[in-house]
């Protein structure tokens, strides 16, 4: 079986062939390893790679595969082979930098704004974050209203 993972924009291909009970031949790029492994319990995966024993913790949510190995957590996106086109940043659109609640929307559609003007005020965990116009312009659209709960990356306002 072949798996493809994207980490930091780079694609890694891993091929796994079963060689016997708990024994696998795993190829990463051009490197091949003899691996012993058993089905993880409570997310704990015991491996023996070329006779060297190690332990990893694994978890998955959707296409996102989490692996803790050594002293670090890693996040791998399962890739369908072609590089996923990064959602091109919408020209002039301002997004929530953190998940939270919209406290105030200080502009309306069609309004002219100056650079540095506060457009929307977000709050999460008692912290207030102002969404500020990076340049002068006109508000083309407002996508939120006070009280909305927004996710990180959600579009709030679009400037023209």
């Amino acid at each position: 079986m072949e798996f493809r993972y994207e980490v930091n924009g780079e694609i890694h291909t891993v091929r796994v062939e079963r060689e016997g009970e708990g024994r696998y031949r795993v190829t990463v790029g051009d490197r091949t390893y003899a691996v012993e492994a058993h089905r993880p319990e409570h997310g704990r995966l015991h491996l023996s790679i070329e006779g060297r024993r190690c332990r990893a913790y694994v978890a998955r949510e959707g296409a996102r595969r989490y692996v803790a190995f050594g002293a670090r957590p890693y996040v791998l996106e399962q890739s369908r082979g072609r590089r996923r086109a990064r959602a091109a940043a919408h020209e002039g659109s301002l997004e929530a930098q953190m998940p939270g609640q919209v406290v105030a929307v200080l502009v309306e559609e069609g309004q002219e704004v100056e650079a540095g003007q506060t457009l929307v005020v977000l709050e999460a965990m008692k912290m207030e974050l102002r969404v500020i116009a990076p340049t002068a312009g006109r508000v083309r659209a407002v996508f939120c209203q006070p009280g909305d709960v927004v996710e990180r990356g959600q579009r709030l306002v679009e400037l023209a």
């Binding site: 798996f3 890694h12 795993v26 790679i49 989490y66 692996v67 002293a71 890693y74 008692k126």
Partner: protein, 503 residues
């Protein structure tokens, strides 16, 4: 002694208080919001009562409702934890008016210290040095004039605030009006009181606080200091004791000032007197936290006193079982606050479900966790996952143990600050104990996860995990039994058998 205590809090501190109550044979009542229906504190308590929807103002800040619950469940005392209602005078008074004991200081002491403006005046009167500032309630022009006199940068702080909430550093006059406006709004939201005041911003101070404990019989002691200079956004992330800065002389003078501060407001129960220490080793009263502090465990480890137990005993009227001369510091303790946040992106809070958490276990490693496997970090509450606390025979020993413990703390599913903490405890300046409150900004402003190639082991583990999952789900969809691969295992039967069910 009390027979039943209501714990008016959530997360790790509710859990910590409940555990000590269990040890003492005191029954507990937890309160929870709809977001915490399956939270650990609700499971550990003898009873748990739903008090409202997720927003704190509709649940954990509903003092009236919490007092009602305490009465309905026949509690005789209320422990407020930290945050939420812990420093709310009206709540403490309401608890007492209902004939219950508030496990904390007298309402008058909370009021005196809670209003930072009053507190500064009282401390100056008691001979405790305070940071120069402007306590006016005047117009914006008055603030601008005062700030000019103090000299920039200045701090805008909430009169009703504390812990850095609602605090703003203002570098230049042009930014002051907006900072005051934002601070007022945050203060109104967080404390229901929009008043703010100015304080001179001390360059590169150290944050050193003293734990105090006072009983109802006039005994006041301090349990030495905690150094809390590693901060981000003016909130502590690493604390340690003893402070590498203090010598015996400074320690004694600050300890005496802390006791004087507590006496000046008729303090009873556990509290913390916070000081700033400048480059010339002058110390200034910053504020007093009239409650149990987040970082109280490091004091517990080094002084050998269970502070929650002490709080309960004091509230029950018992005298302190020790005098100042009985108290000593032994070894060194460090705490790291593990947060769901992204240190590479302005420490913005992260939310989501913790798919897997594995806490480190070892000699003198303590984990006070509020969130573990399966729990969700929501935007409603503080994003702290746990406090990781270690004790060592001396500072270097404690540092090594903390580095080890961080390396063995696994959290998958939400972004945490663990890799950031790992880098801090290995940083040369921190290891030398020379940290000032601007340490994070100075040395970690552009911190990123190291851009190292992914080890092949990680890719192998990922692929095998995916392989095992794929084969398990193929089997689950009508193939051979799944899981253990044992065709006789009862876990693989799908005939509705249940343990304990009549066959």
């Amino acid at each position: 002694m009390f027979s039943k205590i209501l714990v008016a809090n959530r997360g790790e501190i509710a859990v910590r208080v409940i555990r000590t109550c269990q040890e003492l044979g005191i029954r507990t009542v937890a309160v929870y919001s709809e977001a915490d229906a399956t939270a650990l504190h609700t499971v550990l308590a003898d009873e748990a009562v739903l008090i409202g929807p997720p927003p704190p103002t509709e649940s954990y800040l509903r003092g009236d409702r919490i007092v009602e619950v305490a009465l309905e469940t026949r509690c005789d005392a209320v422990h407020p934890g930290y945050g939420f209602l812990s420093e709310n005078t009206d709540f403490a008074e309401a608890v007492e008016a209902a004939g219950l004991v508030f496990i904390g200081p007298p309402p008058a002491a909370i009021r005196a210290m809670g209003d930072k403006v009053t507190a500064r005046a009282l401390m100056a009167e008691a001979g405790v040095p305070v940071v120069p500032g402007y306590e006016g309630e005047g117009s914006l022009d008055d603030f601008l004039a005062a700030a000019r006199d103090l000299g920039y940068p200045v701090l805008v702080k909430a009169a009703a605030g504390g812990g850095g909430k609602g605090m703003r550093v203002v570098e230049r006059e042009a930014d002051l009006p907006a900072a005051i406006e934002t601070a007022r709004r945050e203060a109104q939201g967080a404390f229901g009181d929009p008043r703010v005041y100015l304080e001179k911003y001390l360059p590169r101070p150290r944050h050193v606080e003293f734990q105090v404990l006072a009983d109802q019989h006039g005994n006041v002691v301090h349990l030495f200091e905690r150094e809390c200079s590693v901060q981000r956004r003016h909130q502590k992330i690493i604390e340690e004791t003893p402070s590498p800065l203090l010598d015996d002389d400074l320690r004694q003078r600050m300890g005496e000032a802390a006791v004087a501060a507590a006496r000046a407001v008729g303090y009873v129960n556990a509290g913390t007197v916070e000081f700033l220490v400048d480059e010339e080793r002058h110390f200034y009263f910053l504020e007093m936290n009239t409650r149990l502090q987040v970082e109280h465990p490091i004091t517990e480890l080094v002084v050998g006193v269970d502070l929650v137990k002490a709080q309960i005993n004091v509230a029950a009227g018992k005298p302190l079982p020790f005098s100042q001369a009985d108290l000593h510091q032994r070894g060194h303790a460090i705490e790291c606050r593990v947060y769901a946040e992204d240190p590479a992106n302005n420490f913005l809070p992260a939310t989501g479900r913790v798919l897997r958490a594995v806490e480190p276990v070892g000699p003198w490693v303590r984990v006070d966790a509020g969130v573990t496997t399966g729990d969700t970090v929501t935007h409603h509450y503080d994003p702290m996952i746990a406090k990781l606390i270690v004790w060592g025979e001396h500072r270097l020993d404690a540092l090594r143990k903390m580095a080890w413990a961080l390396d063995h703390y696994i959290v998958l599913g939400v972004t945490t600050n663990i890799p950031f903490l790992q880098d801090i405890v290995r940083h040369e300046t921190f290891r030398r104990g020379e940290v000032t409150t601007d340490f994070v900004e100075r040395h970690f402003a552009d911190w990123r996860l190291p851009d190292e190639p992914v080890p092949d082991e990680v890719l192998i583990a990922a692929a095998l995990a995916d392989l095992f999952e794929a084969t398990a789900s193929i089997n689950a969809n009508g193939g051979a039994p799944t899981g253990s691969g044992d065709p006789f295992s009862p876990w693989n039967q799908a005939d509705g058998f249940r343990v304990g069910q009549r066959v």
